[in-house]
């Protein structure tokens, strides 16, 4: 059985609780143990790097050191947390002076970074064993057309040399394993605006509009995301987009883990389905109804 130190991140505590619930449930179904890291702290998002990079590394390193102490690789469901933690791990392994200094700070919490673990994104972990996913997808999402939205920080910046950051395919493959139909979503790697939704609303709404339009044009019933910030930007700001641009979007946006859970017949309540702003499309509702009797 695969076992990971699970780092939910601040958004999954409440705003993206449905992501947390569905991640834990689907992992259990797949025999992947996600052991929540005790007393984890915020990864710093992008804000820390705007102020002090040494502090940003120290905060991430605290989480890494705790996972190391447990002897497990760290898994993050949020793309921002994943990127920060991954970058910190790489930097500290490469720069011994930096690691020494950060470890000096970590002493205050009786922790030590040695660079012994890997940092993974949840979708990578699930997508690397499609056979297992397929075997559990007893309630296939037949006829559901899904736009696989990768967003930015899962792929960028490159995590290793020659990583395919322009034409990834694993999200589509994962959706295929659930019996759903991935659509050709041209803007699948385009930014959702991230924190600009707060710091530059005009720019972010325009970015969200472009993504929604492309999803509609590509015939998607639903957008699947792997990041809480992407989910909130794409879903919760549709009213503002409509008001701003005179559009009429009503595009459902779900976490890939919620779709996985449905395909595995997990009851909707355990997947946080019902807390969304835009209701599931018919093909998804059909699957939801079936989970009640599976």
């Amino acid at each position: 059985m695969k076992k990971f130190a699970y780092y939910p991140g601040c958004s999954l505590e409440k705003m993206a609780q449905s992501y947390h619930l569905s991640a834990v449930e689907t992992a259990r179904m797949l025999g992947v143990e996600l052991k929540e890291l005790d007393d984890w702290n915020c990864c710093g998002a992008t804000a820390y790097f705007h102020v002090d990079e040494l502090l940003a590394h120290t905060l991430c390193a605290r989480n890494l050191a705790m996972a190391e102490a447990e002897g497990m690789d760290l898994v993050a469901p949020c793309s921002g947390c994943y990127k920060n933690m991954h970058a910190c791990n790489a930097h500290l392994k490469k720069d011994r002076d930096l690691a020494e200094h950060v470890n000096f700070a970590l002493e205050e919490d009786n922790l030590h970074f040695a660079g012994k673990i890997k940092v993974r994104h949840l979708i990578e972990v699930f997508a690397e064993d499609l056979a297992a996913v397929k075997a559990k997808a007893t309630n296939p999402l037949t006829g559901l057309k899904v736009a696989p939205y990768y967003g930015c920080q899962i792929l960028r910046p490159r995590k290793f040399e020659h990583e395919n950051v322009e034409e990834p395919q694993y999200f589509e493959d994962l959706l295929g394993a659930l019996g759903a139909t991935p659509v050709d979503f041209r803007l699948k790697l385009r930014c959702c605006g991230a924190a600009l939704i707060i710091t530059n609303r005009e720019a972010a709404l325009s970015m969200v509009r472009n993504l929604l339009q492309n999803a509609v044009d590509s015939g998607a019933d639903v957008i699947a995301t792997a990041c809480p910030l992407c989910q909130v930007n794409l879903e919760c700001y549709q009213d503002q987009v409509n008001a701003q641009f005179g559009t009429n979007f009503s595009v459902p946006v779900f976490y890939f883990t919620q779709l996985m859970g449905l395909a595995m017949g997990i009851p909707t309540k355990q997947l946080g389905v019902g807390t969304e702003f835009v209701a599931p499309p018919p093909a998804m509702l059909a699957a939801c109804r079936k989970t009640a009797v599976v």
């Binding site: 002090d52 990079e53 590394h57 002076d97």
Partner: protein, 144 residues
């Protein structure tokens, strides 16, 4: 009179470096400058200095503290006197408003905050070098 003293400034602000460098040169010091922590450390390794004037906020963050700690661990450089000149309190005021600077976990000899009065700067530099020399003298004496 002993030979001209050799000083090193590590500070990312070119204008500030220009300012204090001209004060120190006029006072008959030889002054090198490094504008980032990496070049600064390379200079310390390659040349013998009588005193280091060190900024705190550079590059990624409070990297001056990293250098001061690294010096303390280096057998050859441990006794180099260090004068920290910083505006960190102002630079980070939003985070810790009204609180003092406290690098007590680093053994620095002296800390002053920018802007620096020329006379005070020269006094501190002279005193620190004198103290370091006296200490080195005692050590040599003790070895005999």
């Amino acid at each position: 009179m002993s030979a001209q003293k050799q000083l090193l400034i590590i500070d990312d602000d070119p204008d500030f470096v220009d300012g204090i460098k001209s004060i120190l040169v006029k006072a008959n010091y030889k002054v090198d400058a490094a504008y980032n922590p990496k070049d600064g450390w390379a200079a310390l390794e390659n040349k013998k200095y009588d005193l280091l004037l060190l900024d705190v906020m550079m590059g990624r963050g409070a990297e001056g503290i990293m250098i001061a700690r690294k010096l303390g661990k280096d057998a050859r450089l441990r006794n180099l006197p260090v004068l920290i000149i910083t505006s960190i309190r102002e630079q980070m005021a939003f985070l810790f408003p009204g609180e003092a600077v406290h690098p007590h976990f680093v053994t620095v000899d002296e800390l002053v905050e920018k802007p620096v009065e020329p006379k005070m700067l020269l006094d501190k530099v002279a005193t620190l070098i004198k103290t370091a020399e006296a200490k080195a003298g005692h050590l040599a004496e003790a070895k005999k």
